[in-house]
């Protein structure tokens, strides 16, 4: 027996042990729950479609144009003939020179080190998490090094904890209640092995902190969020439904009223399945992969929710390194069907190419063409500064290939790329 065989057998044995042990962790809920949820979603989609149709009628009657059709939930995409089909490409000329509107989300006041240290050792009375009151209960908790134990180690050998400023997550100062004194908004984690997060608002008081409440309390389908920042009297939170085919991020506005946070503007629900052919990416969201070789801030990756084609992202929270934030802009967009290996599960998968620009706070600018799949996966097609590219002129999808007109030292040239669902390969 070779070393290779030993390794294979050893690995198989580990997984066999795991398979026997872990199945009991996941008893299936009754299938009736699936049938019920399917009926509910069908009903919601019909209502949303009717509302969108009604809004369109009102807009037409009022002589106005609906600027954000993608904000309403979309019906499922109509199946096409297959992944190798080629739809007419929509070409949207590249529009460089995005106005440098200041991004409020990148002008926040982060906690100073002293306040952050106090927060990591605070004693505070927390409200229970809506919908998770048993796992994440109300009560007084004392944090040590950012963690407060909720319950002791169970079968899995881990404690259930509350966690503040977990693993470099940022917290900000904000004026929320119109009364003297600072408030702090910070992500609070709760859980055992993997934490879930809610956004906790705290009042800074002499000698400690007082919890005001959770900004997004769990009743809004919010499973995660990225930036949060004050905008006038509002606290804007960039929230996400957490993933899946309808994955995207929204900006929702909250205000502190009558001792609780209420949403005052922005979308209140997440759409279900999304047809990327009809999505307005300038008012949508994109998840950029981390590109370590690009360095921060433009290589940081993460979710970006765009409004009017502009967005921003916070940089790292590395100790001793000042924050480097970035602003992002959506340029030209083209759509169509890229030829991909035959795949019966991608029959309704339109592809989108978008020109992205990133500007760091220190003045550095990056520009590249991004592919966005029907499940919002993103892959970088090409980048200015690589392979002799000095600028991006336009792009489109034609005959199943991505075609990009670029500027080089020798003038403009057209480059074509194939796509295998993971990476682009230049073919001409």
């Amino acid at each position: 027996m070779t070393d290779h065989d030993d390794l294979d057998a050893g690995t198989a044995a580990e997984f066999a042990d795991y398979r026997r042990a872990v199945r009991e962790m996941f008893p299936q809920p009754p299938s009736a729950a699936i049938f019920s949820e399917a009926r509910n979603r069908t009903t919601r989609r019909r209502v949303a479609t009717l509302l969108a149709a009604a809004a369109a009628v009102v807009a037409v009657l009022a002589g106005t144009v609906m600027l954000r059709p993608a904000a309403a939930p979309q019906p499922p995409a109509a199946p096409s003939s297959g992944g190798s089909s080629s739809a007419p490409a929509e070409i949207d000329g590249y529009t460089p020179g995005v106005p440098p509107a200041p991004d409020k989300g990148n002008q926040v006041l982060f906690l100073d080190q002293q306040t952050a240290d106090r927060l990591r050792g605070m004693t505070v009375t927390l409200p229970a998490w809506q919908g998770l009151a048993t796992q994440c209960p109300a009560g007084q908790f004392t944090f040590h090094a950012g963690k407060a134990v909720i319950s002791g180690a169970g079968d899995l050998g881990y404690t259930t904890d509350y966690a503040i400023l977990h693993k470099g997550l940022r917290a900000i100062f904000a004026e929320l209640d119109g009364e003297p004194g600072d408030e702090i908004v910070a992500p609070l984690g709760c859980g055992m092995i993997e934490l879930q997060f809610r956004l906790l608002a705290l009042k800074v008081e002499p000698g400690g902190f007082r919890a005001l409440g959770y900004v997004a309390d769990g009743s809004e389908q919010v499973t995660s969020f990225d930036r949060f920042y004050p905008d006038g009297q509002d606290l804007v939170v960039e929230v996400s439904d957490g993933g899946g085919q309808g994955t995207f991020e929204q900006r929702r506005h909250f205000q502190w009223r009558d001792s609780r946070f209420v949403q005052v503007s922005g979308p209140t629900v997440f759409p279900g399945e999304v047809d990327m052919r009809s999505v307005d990416l300038r008012n949508w969201s994109i998840h950029l992969p981390i590109v370590p070789e690009d360095g921060p801030p433009c290589g940081n990756g993460g979710w970006l929710s765009f409004v009017g084609g502009a967005s921003g992202a916070w940089g790292y929270a590395e100790p001793g390194i000042s924050l480097t934030a970035a602003e992002y802009f959506v340029g030209g967009i083209s759509r169509g069907f890229l030829n991909e290996p035959a795949d019966p599960y991608r029959v309704d998968a339109p592809d989108v190419l978008v020109t992205m620009t990133c500007r760091g706070t220190e003045g550095r600018t990056d520009e590249w063409v991004q592919h966005v799949s029907h499940v919002a996966h993103t892959t970088t097609l090409l980048k200015v500064g690589v392979d002799g590219v000095t600028g991006i002129v336009s792009h489109r999808i034609v005959d199943g290939l991505a075609e990009v007109t670029v500027r080089t030292a020798g003038g403009e040239e057209v480059r074509r790329y194939s796509f295998d669902s993971y990476r682009f390969t230049r073919v001409s």
Binding site: E14, R19, F26, S31, A33, G168, I193, G244, I290, A317
Partner: protein
């Protein structure tokens, strides 16, 4: 078609789907948990994948391997969510010292903890091969890469996993 026939067809579809759901939910969850390391997320992913299958059952139910469709959707969802989590993990890598002690607990937790240190593509290949029982050719078809790439992923994945498991055992946590 009369009402009675329609109802009979609907009942048959529900029975077929329920059979698949009950037979395969736990297996699929075990696969996804090995990849995500998050039990509640895994539960949601698998349930969502089955829900989408039921919404398209008139088509999916006719496939030779409907569970393959469910698995593919669940993995798509998992990959999408996983990419979102990378940012926080990336922050953690840059801002926190490495864990001083190895995780403790049952073997399943140690395996999951070790798998999470294996790069995503390699981990996916390991789980598809050893838990979903897919052949190299099947994984290549499912992930749209050459078979040689899958073999390479599996080889590197086994080596990485063995190294991380060895670290845990030598840490005295078993």
């Amino acid at each position: 078609m009369d009402i009675a026939s329609t109802r009979k067809m609907a009942a048959t579809a529900e029975a077929d789907f329920s059979g698949l759901y009950q037979a395969r939910f736990s297996d699929l969850a075990a696969q996804l948990y090995a990849f995500t390391g998050d039990p509640s997320e895994t539960h949601d992913l698998v349930q969502e994948a089955f829900l989408r299958a039921w919404q398209r059952w008139h088509t999916v139910g006719r496939y030779e391997d409907p569970v393959g469709w469910v698995r593919r959707v669940a993995w798509n969802l998992a990959m999408s969510r996983h990419r979102r989590l990378r940012l926080i993990r990336h922050w953690a890598d840059h801002s926190q010292p490495a864990a001083a002690t190895a995780p403790t607990g049952p073997d399943r937790v140690v395996l999951v903890a070790a798998l999470r240190k294996v790069p995503e593509q390699l981990r996916r290949a390991l789980v598809l091969h050893y838990l979903a029982d897919l052949s190299v050719a099947d994984i290549a078809a499912e992930t749209a890469v050459a078979e040689g790439t899958v073999k390479s992923w599996l080889h590197r994945g086994r080596t990485e996993l063995a190294r991380h498991l060895s670290d845990y055992w030598e840490g005295g946590s078993r």
